[in-house]
Symmetry: C2
Subunit: 366 residues, 2 copies
């Protein structure tokens, strides 16, 4: 497989936010475009929980990326103007060190000996890559979903490193509905006999638990309105297995089945548990004792908060809270409430809605 | 245990709506109040998926019922005025024949040999009890959640048997979001190794799958707004087990854990699968080919449709659809859109909101 992935190894111990450290962790990243002489055109993208650093295709890796229509020459995040960086989150399994990696101290996989992961660790490790690239101040940091919280962690901890912030379908901290959903997804994986307290055979992972977790994920990533329009009560075209009266009967059940089949096996279960848990833990209010005190630590020139009305995982009320909070310290803050029907996933699938808003933000920066 | 439960056994074969039949099934039911001489004061209540026929306490069974504050002397459904009946749904496990019952043809439990269950079967079997009690026409049929669809099945199939209809947090048919949720709940149970394709040891049921399914249930029965107010990011008071970093950390996780513990073991897993599937199958549009043709078969004097703004399982848009559809054939139709915060479960826990609406309906019938 052709890859544009570059690796950076942290020199020495990387201290984790909660406790413990990693010995010389590796960060996998990709870049697009050129860093200018002033080194002031760098855009750092933080992904959601599951994607790799492969945001878009490039000469080194022509396969389409997870935000293929958003990043590239002539696209909203225009690589003719900007130097774009994406780092695979620490704790993930696409090149960066995570629970599925070998612990150099033991020669075995970390598994559950990996220290508690927080989005602060994701932010700090990404900053190591930014430093390594010789960039002192980022033009903009963009964070999608969980990545919005990672981005916020970077902004609040290194306020002079980020000039602009684009938050996409994210929030300042998780609320109990999304905590409940993620906690249940983790329990599905942990309840699978094959999980074996994290010591599963990598060739025989807890695929049943992963499939269930992915289906619950899809239920919260999309919206009831979309599915009502798209599937209604349409029956699945695959014949119902006669020996199983509970097999998929409706189209929506086949759809979930197909998504679960595609995802399972593609993501390490322990990595999933750590990143999911990290999403629950992040809380901007830990910076000073309240959300407002957290907002007051930000030093942003400009902010764009984009949210989607049908998002149930990062609901619009939280996006408004984020926008209003940042607006108290950054007068140039715009809140774009999009009327997309495809819920939380809209930023990945409804380009017609997202393109103009993101395009306008970056164009007016030039 | 003291019980007010009465049993009625259907004489001979009970033909199921889809296919097959049950040999002399039993229906468990309870009644409150007295049937008057004209036999025109009977109110039949259809429950949601999981409750028994024990709606309220009585002399025979003083334990509190699932709608204790709604049915009784001087309460909104006033047993000084009305003769109230509730039948444990066919397919359930609280006295009525279901998959956990003994098939008289084989002497073994039905398990998955139980025929496909529909809400039409739930309605028709309840009608057997009504007939048995010598009631030709019901004053009112009340249906909560799944029970609203069972009630609708009765109304559309026996239009002259029901004069008034109260639908509570229900709909004319399931949409793909709720189908997806229930399908996933069923898959959680079926994925548990202990389920054994329905042939589990009753003393060792698939409790893990049931617990997961119950937690997903709770996520869809309540609302994100309620939990944000009630739990926020409060930590669980139970100490975190040090050997398990993924154990419950937030209060909302402990809350789900407590609910799962209470429910599991109290409901037969196969019965749950059948009733859950029946909820997906019901579609008023099967009566004549469209929802409108279904509505046109109703002969109701008066209807009350109650829905809750924060309900994600039976969303308010579906309740409005139901009210507007019935209004085309029953001019005396009222739609009450309640601003409760506790989601789908509000009818069980937010009596202050439901009491006045139901009270007004029944008082004005006297």
């Amino acid at each position: 497989m052709s890859t544009a992935r570059r690796l950076f190894t942290v020199d020495g111990e990387f201290r984790m936010h909660r406790a413990g450290y990693l010995q010389s962790p590796t960060l996998a990243f990709e870049t697009w475009g050129e860093l200018n002489a002033a080194k002031d055109n760098a855009v750092l993208i933080f992904s959601g929980l599951s994607p790799s650093a492969h945001v878009a295709s490039s000469e080194g890796d022509p396969s389409p990326g997870w935000w293929q229509d958003m990043v590239g020459s002539g696209l909203p995040i225009d690589t003719d103007e900007y130097f774009v960086i994406c780092v695979n989150s620490l704790g993930s399994c696409f090149g960066s060190t995570g629970p599925a990696s070998i612990d150099p101290k033991t020669g075995d996989r970390y598994r559950l000996t990996f220290p508690v992961l927080t989005l602060e660790d994701v932010a700090e490790s990404a900053k190591c890559v930014v430093d390594h690239l010789g960039i002192e101040c980022l033009h903009t940091v963009v964070g999608c979903s969980m990545g919005g919280m990672s981005a916020l962690a970077l902004c609040v901890r290194h306020p002079h490193t980020v000039r602009r912030f684009v938050s996409i379908s994210s929030s300042a901290r998780a609320l109990p509905f999304s905590i409940a959903v993620r906690s249940l997804q983790r329990e599905m994986i942990r309840s699978d006999n094959k999980w074996k307290k994290g010591n599963y055979d990598p060739g025989d992972p807890p695929i049943t638990g992963q499939r269930l977790a992915r289906k619950l994920g899809m239920i919260t990533y999309r919206s009831a309105e979309e599915w009502a329009q798209r599937f209604g009560r349409e029956r699945a075209t695959d014949p119902i297995r006669v020996d199983d009266q509970f097999a998929a009967e409706f189209s929506v059940e086949s759809y979930l089945e197909n998504h679960a089949n595609k995802f399972s096996g593609a993501f390490d279960p322990n990595c999933y548990l750590y990143l999911s848990h990290a999403s629950d833990l992040f809380d901007l209010a830990e910076y000073g004792g309240s959300l407002q005190s957290g907002f007051e630590r930000l030093k942003l020139d400009r902010t764009l908060v984009i949210g989607v009305r049908t998002d149930i995982l990062f609901p619009i009320v939280q996006q408004r809270e984020l926008a209003e909070g940042i607006a108290t310290v950054c007068t140039d803050t715009e809140f774009a409430e999009l009327d997309c029907i495809r819920g939380h996933d809209s930023f990945l699938v409804d380009m017609d809605a997202f393109r103009p808003v993101i395009c306008k933000f970056f164009e007016s920066c030039c």
